[in-house]
């Protein structure tokens, strides 16, 4: 299969194996899906979640929204983010100041030697 193989100079990679494994995974998924309960009916009591007899909370209440994800990650990198986020001030002259400063640094780096 020469067309599929990607040569990277120090190795190679062939997507065909991934393709085969994806197909196998899909077949497995179908087998599990097909062996499910046949007596399931939409729109009846069966669809309702069973929470030990407690009333079902509102859908909005059980949805985990984006702000709640990666709390631990954000918390452990607190110091980094505390310094990084305020740099994005949203003031146009600050944007330009960054641009001029980097230009000056590069000029010093390249012109001086």
């Amino acid at each position: 299969m020469p067309d599929f193989t990607l040569f990277t100079g120090s190795g190679f990679w062939n997507p065909i194996f991934w393709f085969v494994s994806i197909i196998v995974a899909l077949i497995l998924i179908y087998i599990i899906y097909a062996s499910g309960e046949k007596g399931y009916k939409r729109g009846t009591e069966q669809v309702k979640p069973f929470i030990s007899g407690n009333p079902e909370p509102a859908k909005r209440g059980v949805q985990i929204s984006a702000g709640n994800l990666y709390w631990g990650y954000m918390d452990s990198l607190r110091v980094y983010y505390r310094n990084l986020i305020p740099l994005h001030t949203g003031i146009i002259t600050d944007y330009l100041l960054w641009m001029f400063c980097v230009t000056a640094i590069l000029l010093i780096l390249v012109v001086i030697p």
Binding site: I85, H88, G90, I91, I92, T93, L96, L97, F100
Partner: protein, 114 residues
């Protein structure tokens, strides 16, 4: 020395422009700084094309063949036209900003950040 005068002017204009852009808080003044920067570049290009004692580069009935370069003039014409369009667009944006935010202070114009 005297012929270098335009280049000194370019340097001075550039510094004035950069200082204006970086230090002024009024958006219109920042835009003026941009315009000064544009003029500095235009002056640089046009003075590059100048030859001492040169005449306009029109061959018909030319008094001498010592002519200034025609290309920089064409470039500057194009760049002036672009500059006008740029300023017009920027100023019209500023107008809408003033209408919506009630101010042209660059530090108040930061609804988008982080």
């Amino acid at each position: 020395m005297f012929w270098n005068l335009p280049y000194f002017t370019v340097v001075i204009l550039t510094f004035i422009a950069i200082l204006t852009i970086l230090t002024k808080k009024n958006l219109v003044k920042v835009l003026l700084g941009i315009n000064i920067l544009e003029s500095a570049v235009n002056l640089l290009i046009i003075s590059i094309g100048y030859r001492e004692g040169g005449v306009a580069p029109i061959f018909t009935l030319a008094p001498s063949t010592n002519m200034v370069l025609p290309t920089p003039q064409a470039l500057v014409l194009t760049s002036i036209v672009i500059g006008v369009a740029t300023s017009a667009l920027l100023l019209s944006f500023t107008m809408v900003i003033y209408r919506k935010y009630g101010s042209v202070d660059v530090e108040k114009m930061r609804e988008l950040r982080e």
